[in-house]
Amino acid sequence: MKLTLKIWRQKNAQDKGGIVDYPIDGIEPDMSFLEMLDVLNEQLINKGEEPVAFDHDCREGICGMCSLFINGEAHGPDRGVTTCQLHMRMFKDGDTIFIEPFRAKAFPVIKDLVVDRSSFDRIQHAGGFISVNTSGNTIDANTIPVNKEDADKSFDAAACIGCGACVATCKNSSAMLFVGAKVSQFALLPQGKVEATERVLNMVHQMDLEGFGNCTNTGACEVECPKGISLENIARMNREYLAASLKG
């Protein structure tokens, strides 16, 4: 396949940045999107130019490190996948592909296509945990049975990989899907109930401090989420938040 890539290049956080065109040839449908970028980078290096910086690690859709806004969509045109799982068979010979970083105030650009998503971590520091001592004197795991349905739902929420596609795709740059998933995971388990009130208040407070926008129920996040995190989690977080606000 022969393609024209239009890639966002930005030297560092201060640089203004802009789109640069890169024609590329010999791309196989079996390649992943990131392998296609590897091929481009190899060519750039051989020509003495600087390769395009992009984030990635596991390359199997689980670490949440890869990002990329491809032709206006977070993680590109395929559904339910991350960029590293996107394959070139989704494109046609002769296509032009726009590649940009995830854009949001709370995700500043570090370089080219790499953004800083540590705001997600700070939300987690504010309450994304159960305060149990880690030195192993806990009760036997089977003493608290958990309804299978609740456990499965909790797992579904916990499957969020923290990629930030929900934020990038939202017109308000809201982080509600991510935070909703985190709150839900614990809210659904008996172990998480004890601190539920402070947890949701603190996490939502931190989310606001980080500069994420508000949710206006457009649902774009759910559509772009590679892990199928559902809007139900936002609703649950709102209920938890309301209950917590009333309490204290």
Binding site: M31, I45, R59, T134
Partner: protein, 666 residues
């Protein structure tokens, strides 16, 4: 220097308890005066950071990703073992201990493995208390499944995303400590050297990967939990960033490197599809619970399939060779990984491979779909003779167990594994070798500890499935917190360690010099170019099967490649910025040394055991032929300037509780 493994005296089942009863403790008020650096925040480093902070130490944790939650551990699929015996199928601490020692082909240290089995049950309790949503049965209790190499069901799991959930559990525990200010987290930082003062580990040199700044960090002890080195093969199931730098740098400063040649080749990975490939994707071993592995029984059929003239589904049961079930009737498809991998390679080498390159076998779910579907039809009172219905019901059950793995396969291969069998082939997965540690998890550098996949300790020559997660968390949550306290007890009055000491200045200079050398090298090839070449030598000559001739060649070729690398590598950009090529260059430089030691270790070990298969040493039936008389030891290498000059130290392995016997799964 003589190796002292510091194994406590007494009966095996009392060693750990007695040890804990007699170690030095640090009073909580004094822990506040002690700093610990942890390199790596995967399962091992993350759980250690959280626990040590909980105990009161000041922890500084480092990882090269943008968040601890993205460490390679996140990718682990299948599950984590624990001797809970919830199923009542005969599991016990002893049986887990026994299976692990046997599975490791009797090349692991008994005392460590027993301790691991002892604390395993605790890990599950801990994780569940932290809110890790492990799979449940309808009654609300925890579910289990079985894994290769065992006859009991002791593996706990969270769909095919167990590592993710366990890591998020450890990460949440860390978050709590970060929020309290007890853990200081350094994301996007890479440790590039260790600093040793008066013979003790007292700090590290790290590069801030965003700004390029070189930083000095001091502490009273340094813990390395930097994961494995499978990426020395370039193609592996490891995350792209996984590297050996931290482990290799401490090796160069005095930490012995043990059993580098013990590499696990995992039998169920998606086969290589072309030259552009950047990594290999694992299909969890748990699939072997329900999938049957086969190749065509006749060469003509295999050829017809390769040429696209026949499909897998065209062959009847009688035209298939279920080679694992045939060769190993007791364990069948659930033989350990090394055995399954070699058996698949043997069939492919004999011409029975089923993909274009002839390097794939089938993993087939048709029988499982049929079985589950029929059962479900009975349960629901539906017509069990309705073929389409049975398939539909069975498919739904298989989907609920392995859905994400099937989806992953579909995306990569573009074929639906519910309909046609998956194609799989062995790939480099896990490294059982690593820094040598004693019973305290301390390396041969006082004050420098190594945990999780970066140490060599518990798996011997082969790791059974679902044991790496267990070891990582055992080390971090339950073992290191005791042993490090014992080490630190005399340091309570020491006060903070200055980073102005000459040792820090010197180490920082060495790091900067290496970086400048790369940036100013006006070479012609990218880092990946060299990494791929190294990977090819490793796979061809130091891979699944090795022989003396190939290994001797590999040693020379790697040394030559290393020289070429330093002359001819091209690293664009500058040192003082975000520079991914520079990151890769420093890592590949270390792989180019490690690879040579790896081959040297494989060459000296004149036996076959576990993941180390020397073609010269096999039984008539093609099974690994161990030599306990001459090789029942840990090979611990001391660095002497060049990998070729490395000096071998032997830690004899004494088996007092488990008899050394030929490993059989027949």
């Amino acid at each position: 220097m003589a190796l002292d493994s510091k194994i406590p005296h007494g009966p095996i089942s009392d060693k750990w308890t007695n040890y804990k009863d007699h170690i030095n403790l640090v009073n909580p008020a004094n822990k506040r005066n002690l700093d610990i650096i942890i390199v790596g925040t995967g399962l091992a480093g993350g759980s250690a950071a959280a626990t040590l902070a909980e105990l009161g130490y000041n922890v500084k944790a480092f990882c090269f990703q943008d968040s601890p939650r993205r460490a390679h551990s996140i990718a682990a699929q299948g599950g984590i073992n624990a001797a809970k015996n919830y199923k009542g199928d005969g599991d016990s601490v002893y049986r887990l201990f026994y299976d692990t020692v046997k599975g490791g082909d009797y090349r692991a240290r008994e005392a460590n493995v027993h301790r691991l089995a002892e604390v395993s049950a605790n890990i599950i309790d801990q994780c569940v208390a932290q809110g890790v949503p492990l799979a449940r049965e309808y009654g609300g209790l925890l579910d289990n499944r079985s894994f290769g190499g065992t006859l009991v069901s002791r593996t706990f799991y969270a769909q095919g995303q167990t590592g993710q959930q366990l890591l998020l559990g450890a990460y949440s525990a860390m978050n709590r400590q970060i929020g309290r200010g007890k853990v200081k987290m350094y994301n996007r930082h890479e440790m590039l050297d260790i600093v040793i003062v008066d013979g003790k580990a007292r700090g590290i040199i790290a590069r801030n990967l965003v700004t390029g700044e070189i930083e000095r960090h001091s502490a009273h002890a340094v813990v390395v939990g930097s994961g494995g080195y499978g990426n020395v093969f370039f193609l592996s199931t490891n995350a792209m960033g996984s590297n050996a730098t931290a482990a290799w740098k401490i090796h160069k400063k005095g930490a012995f490197f043990a059993n580098p040649c013990y590499t696990q080749i995992h039998p169920t990975c998606i086969p290589v599809s072309g030259d552009h490939q950047s990594k290999l994707t694992l299909m969890s071993e748990s699939l072997r619970n329900d999938g049957r592995i086969w190749v065509p029984a006749k060469l003509e059929d295999a050829q017809a399939i390769r040429e696209g003239k026949k499909k897998a589904t065209d062959l009847s049961e009688a035209e298939r060779d279920y080679f694992l079930e045939r060769r190993y009737p007791a364990f069948g498809n659930l033989v350990p990984r090394d055995v399954a991998s070699r058996a698949a390679k043997e069939r492919c080498d004999a011409g029975f491979g089923v993909n274009k390159t002839g390097e794939a076998v089938y993993l087939d779910f048709a029988a499982a779909i049929q079985r589950y579907g029929t059962e479900e039809a009975y349960v629901k009172g539906l017509d069990a003779n309705d073929k389409a219905l049975v398939i539909k019901l069975g498919t739904a059950i298989v989907k609920s167990k392995y859905g994400n793995l099937f989806q992953m396969y579909l995306k990569i291969v573009d074929e639906d594994p519910y309909v046609t069998p998956m194609m799989i082939y062995p790939a480099v997965h896990y490294t059982m070798g690593g820094t040598w540690v004693d019973y305290n998890l301390m390396t041969t550098i006082p004050g420098c500890f190594s945990i999780g996949e970066s140490n060599f300790s518990d798996h011997g020559a082969n790791r059974l499935g679902a044991s790496a997660l267990m070891q990582g968390l055992a080390d971090g949550y339950f073992v290191l917190p005791y042993t490090i306290g014992d080490y630190l007890a005399p340091d309570i009055k020491m006060g903070p360690i200055s980073t102005d000491l000459p040792e820090f200045v010197e180490a920082e200079k060495a790091v900067k010099d290496q970086i400048d050398r790369f940036i100013n090298n006006k070479g012609t090839h990218s880092v990946d170019y060299f990494h791929k070449k190294l990977g090819k030598i490793m796979w061809d000559k130091v891979g699944m099967a090795r022989n003396a001739k190939g290994l001797t060649e590999a040693i020379e070729e790697i040394a030559a490649l290393r020289e070429e690398f330093y002359k001819d590598v091209k690293v664009p950009g500058s040192a003082n910025e975000f520079n991914q090529e520079l990151e890769k260059a420093t890592r590949v430089a270390d792989f180019l040394e490690l690879g040579e030691l790896f081959a040297k270790d494989a060459l000296h070990r004149n036996e076959s055991c576990g993941g180390h298969f020397r073609e010269e040493y096999q039984t008539e039936e093609g099974e690994a032929l161990r030599d306990d008389e001459n090789f029942a030891y840990v090979a611990a290498w001391e660095y002497k300037g060049k990998p070729s000059d490395a000096v071998l130290h032997k830690e004899p392995l004494v088996y007092e509780n488990i008899k050394l016997v030929q490993r059989s799964y027949k």
